[in-house]
């Protein structure tokens, strides 16, 4: 997950190539891979039905362009230190801006296209990769955001909530990948879990700062777009624009 799109974008000289959360084929045991497909097929089918009902035929161009947006934001890196750079992964941001169900479709499209076109993530484990990056991180980010934005009211609450939600989504996602690798016997839990959580606790700070700044910017320039809980902000249905 550290490099959604980084392989795709590396030839542009824009993306960092680092250890990825996109699991390739060959690592996961067959039962774990199939469990990932079961979760993904169920949740994506439900999300697709809800999105079709609630945003009708507008859904395809809206979510396609939004997936292209998430893809493109991953190009926007910034130098951190020592030649490394941080960039957005986008799961929590998509959940905050689009609502969880539309965000699931958007991230499934991004993760699926990365596997099909760039071999960034395997094919048999694609279900698992979508479950990790397209479902788990979105719902983790969404519920943390909803909870914190409810507890702390106003602008400060929304911004603090978007920072914590983005940070938590990255850390939780990385922890689950470590557990899945250990279940498949592809990585020792005692080493992988602290390593993954440690690295992603740092990466998550960048994710949190970018998400916070993006939500803050959109609140200031396009109030009404952020973030009515539910499938889509009012603006997406033409009400606010």
């Amino acid at each position: 997950m550290m490099s959604i799109g980084s392989m795709a974008l590396a030839p542009l000289g824009l993306g960092p190539v680092g250890p990825a959360m996109h699991i390739p084929d060959g690592y996961m045991s067959v039962p774990v891979a199939i469990a990932g497909w079961v979760v993904t097929v169920g949740v994506v089918a439900y999300a697709a039905r809800r999105a079709e009902r609630e945003i009708s035929d507008r859904a395809v161009p809206l979510m396609g362009v939004m997936a292209a947006f998430i893809f493109a934001t991953q190009m926007m890196n910034f130098p951190v230190a020592g030649g490394t750079s941080g960039h957005l992964l986008g799961g929590a941001l998509a959940a905050i801006l689009l609502g969880p169900w539309a965000a699931v479709i958007v991230m499934a499209a991004v993760v699926g296209l990365q596997a099909l076109m760039f071999q960034d993530g395997g094919l048999v484990v694609m279900g698992l990769n979508i479950a990790n990056m397209g479902i788990l991180t979105i719902f983790a980010g969404y519920f943390v955001y909803r909870f914190l934005a409810g507890v702390i009211p106003g602008r400060v609450g929304a911004l603090a909530a978007s920072f914590v939600a983005a940070w938590a989504s990255v850390v939780i996602g990385s922890a689950v990948v470590a557990v899945e690798l250990a279940l498949s016997g592809a990585s020792p839990l005692g080493v992988a879990l602290p390593a993954m959580i440690g690295v992603h606790a740092l990466i998550g700070v960048g994710e949190g700062l970018i998400t916070l700044a993006a939500v803050s910017f959109i609140r200031a320039t396009n109030p009404g777009l952020v973030p009515t809980p539910g499938l889509a902000p009012a603006g997406l249905n033409g009400a606010a624009r």
Binding site: L14, M28, V65, T73, M75, I105, A186, L225
Partner: protein, 264 residues
Amino acid sequence: MSVASVLGDRYAERDSAVHRADARVKLPAALLYILAIACVPEGAWTALALLAAPIAVVAAAARLGPLFILRRTFLALPFVAVAVPLIFTRPGTVAFEVPVLGWHGTHEGLTAVATILARSWLSVTVAVLLTASTPIVETLRALRVLGTPRLLVGTVFFTYRYFDVIGSEAVRMIRARDSRSAALPGRHAGGRVWWRATVVGHMVGSLFARSLDRSERVYAAMQARGFTGELRFLSTPAVRGVEVAVAAAFVLAGFAVVLGDRLA
């Protein structure tokens, strides 16, 4: 530096039977073959070697050239870093000792990591062959035929189509930022990390608003052309029986190797 040049060149046009084969046959065959590879237990070198043979035949038939395939498959290999600790944590007979740290690598651990690397590399090779021999539009048509929700396939189509547009927008914003961010050699420039992250966050927010506007214009244009929510393909030719037979033989060979290894 066009974004399209990155997205567009994944399909490598050649005149070969593999390229001509229907994606509705190639995609399931590739998936099932990778599933067969995933079933190979640790240390089953004969099975892995036998599984490589049909892949080599398809690779030769696709006329892509070994260097082309090798270059693309290497992109997926750095992930092996997550498996490397197994060399030291898997209990077994000691194979070597790291001098200063005093860690013991075991034969069992080396076998596990080598197997994972081999399975991963064979799987990626199959995926590279599929991607390089199949235009993305055909792959998506196959996904739709295989029962992927219409909305998701449509979304992936639009992601593919509009990544170039939104990506170019992003490239222009990055270029504008870099133009404003002059720095003397060896001098620190551009504020602290949190400040830089905020700048990127504002760019992301701005790109979101532009993307939303774009999606509404796209939708209006689609409606003007009579879009009703259904994706249409120009023609859907029948799947050829020969291709199904060859693909079935490919997949069955894979599972026969796995079964043979289990029984032996």
